[in-house]
């Protein structure tokens, strides 16, 4: 098997006396859809922050596409091909929907900033290409109708979608989704599952999903890893995870075995 796209090797981070993530081994392969679950405070978001360069691991290494990402700035890691969404949506509120996507296209801008002043032919061609690309992305996700509206005026579900579109504009190889179903009703969750599958197929990328909603995780992930107190306690396909005693105990408490099968 080829080397995985993302590899965590004994990744550990300590905050003072607290070991938030303890020696976690974890991989995401090409075109894979992986879920990362765990009870509140299990360290899921901390793992996310390690992968995106917000935190540096105290021990262990994280490699992406063969490159160790330790010491890189957040934006440099995005440049390598990891894009993320946020648990509490972080759009550029005062910018329009279109500009939110356009800003993310900066990573693949062909002309230098000076060109913005010279405004030569190459600059105009570049701006036109970026506009086209951003509008195409908005079209795919049915957001074109909001093109010039301020992003903060969008309905909640659309804001989630726009955040994913913005990620896709950076042309990622791996998309990290941090609790995308948070605050969604059942219908919206079904929409979301469909959206995630569509994104993965259409853009040929790997997705790592951190999620609380069993409905979403079990419905969409090929493989699931479970964290508890910063330690990986289980990994496997949805069926295996559903029947894993350790997971059920840690994640749902002892008497809730039915909850998992009830999704």
């Amino acid at each position: 098997m080829a080397a995985p796209l993302l590899q965590l090797d004994k990744a550990t981070i300590r905050f003072g006396g607290l070991t938030a993530v303890n020696s976690v081994d974890f991989t995401v392969g090409e075109d894979e859809l992986v879920g990362l679950i765990g009870p509140n405070g299990a360290g899921k978001t901390t793992v996310f922050n390690l992968m995106t360069g917000v935190y540096q691991p105290t021990d262990g290494t994280i490699t992406f596409n063969g490159t160790p990402i330790a010491g890189l700035r957040v934006n440099e890691i995005v440049d390598l091909g990891i894009a993320r969404t946020f648990q509490n949506i972080r759009l550029f509120g005062s910018l329009s929907v279109f500009d939110n996507v356009r800003v993310a296209c900066n990573l693949h801008r062909a002309t230098s900033p000076i060109q913005a002043l010279i405004r030569g032919k190459s600059f105009r061609a570049d701006e036109a290409a970026i506009t086209k690309r951003a509008e195409e992305l908005l079209d795919i996700f049915n957001l074109r109708r909001f093109r010039d509206a301020p992003s903060k005026s969008l309905p909640y579900g659309e804001q989630r979608r726009l955040e994913i579109v913005r990620c896709l504009a950076t042309k990622p190889k791996l998309l990290l989704l941090d609790e995308p179903a948070a605050g969604m009703n059942p219908t919206e969750k079904i929409e979301l599952v469909r959206l995630i599958q569509q994104v993965q197929k259409q853009f040929n990328l790997s997705i790592l999903l951190v999620e609380h909603s069993m409905k979403v995780v079990m419905g969409v992930c090929q493989r699931i890893a479970v964290l508890d107190y910063g330690v990986k306690i289980a990994e496997g396909n949805p069926a295996q995870i559903q029947s894993d005693k350790k997971v059920i105990e840690a994640y749902l408490g002892e008497d809730h075995q039915t909850a998992l099968s009830h999704h």
Binding site: T52, R73, V74, N75, V78, D79, A83, R84, F86, R90, L91, F92, G93, S94, L95, S96, D99, R102, V103, A104, C105, N106, L107, R109, P113, A116, L117, R119, F123, R124, D126, E127, A128, I130, T131, D139, N142, R144, R145, R147, D148, P150, R166, C167, A169, T170
Partner: protein, 349 residues
Amino acid sequence: MSLRFPPSPNSRHGTFRIRVYPCPSVVKNSGSPTIPVPRPHLYLLAALLVALGISQFSDRIDPYFLDVIIGIGINIILAVSLNLVNGYTGQFSLGHAGFMSVGAYLAAAVSLFLGPKILGEAGGTALQQGLMFLAALVAGGLGAAFAGLIVGVPSLRLKGDYLALVTLGFGEIIRVVFQNVEFLGGALGLNGIPAYTTIFWVLAFVALSVFVVTCLVHSTYGRGFLATHDDEIASESVGLNTTRYKIVAFVIGAFFAGTAGGLYGHFKMTITPTGFDFTKSIEIVVMVILGGMGNTLGVILAAILLTLLPELLRPIAEYRMIIYSLMLIILMLVRPQGLFNFKFGKAKL
């Protein structure tokens, strides 16, 4: 979206019609331009020509009026450039007068010390003087930009109040330095600076600063300034180097503050360190806030208003500053979003 109520007699569809989100295929491609100002260079060129035209008639303009116009122009340059930092990029800098003084001193030094050597005793022709002045202004701007880089690199990791304090400290340090450098006149400042500043130069640099800021902000690259302002963490996570954006904004802002300083020095013909203290910085910040942060047109109008106001209040001499301050307080209470914070045309920002 259209909403008709009560039903118009002509309506064929009965009572009223609500269409909220038109389906995308129905919406025509608006074809809205990527570049809001299609040929910005033409505007710049036109502005320069207008400046040149006006300067031909400057002899006939009332000298007091001309002085006021020049003062307004210098303040516009300062406010527009600070707006890139405080408005668009959302960093709170209180050191703009500091950068202005660096430019003022450097430009004055070039004209005073290098000028006679290059132009000779006779003073050279008008064209030579003009070029000399341009060189002095650019030198002043570059010096201020360099100062901006030196201050910006370490301090732009800080946010909000902290950055304000650091830039405030910088402004004060610069003032004290100029006060104590004998070579630059010490506390007395520099005198006898040639009066090169004309209405043409002021208008030209106003046009240039507006051009640069507008062109930058209305580009894919420049949207990064606004994104940095909105959410730094999100900006980083879409691949923007926010530190670099902040430094670029800071350096460009400092450059134009420097040229404004150069214009100011060659206009007043004398500069003293106390002329660039932190009340001057505050004055520029007020223009930016009053104009509506991140709104170039509003900031220009605010700069005009706030320069004119003290002049208009001159007849009531001693109450002048009281009324000026009171008006500021009232304006801030009534329109905290900025006096001129409106959007014109299609939402372009």
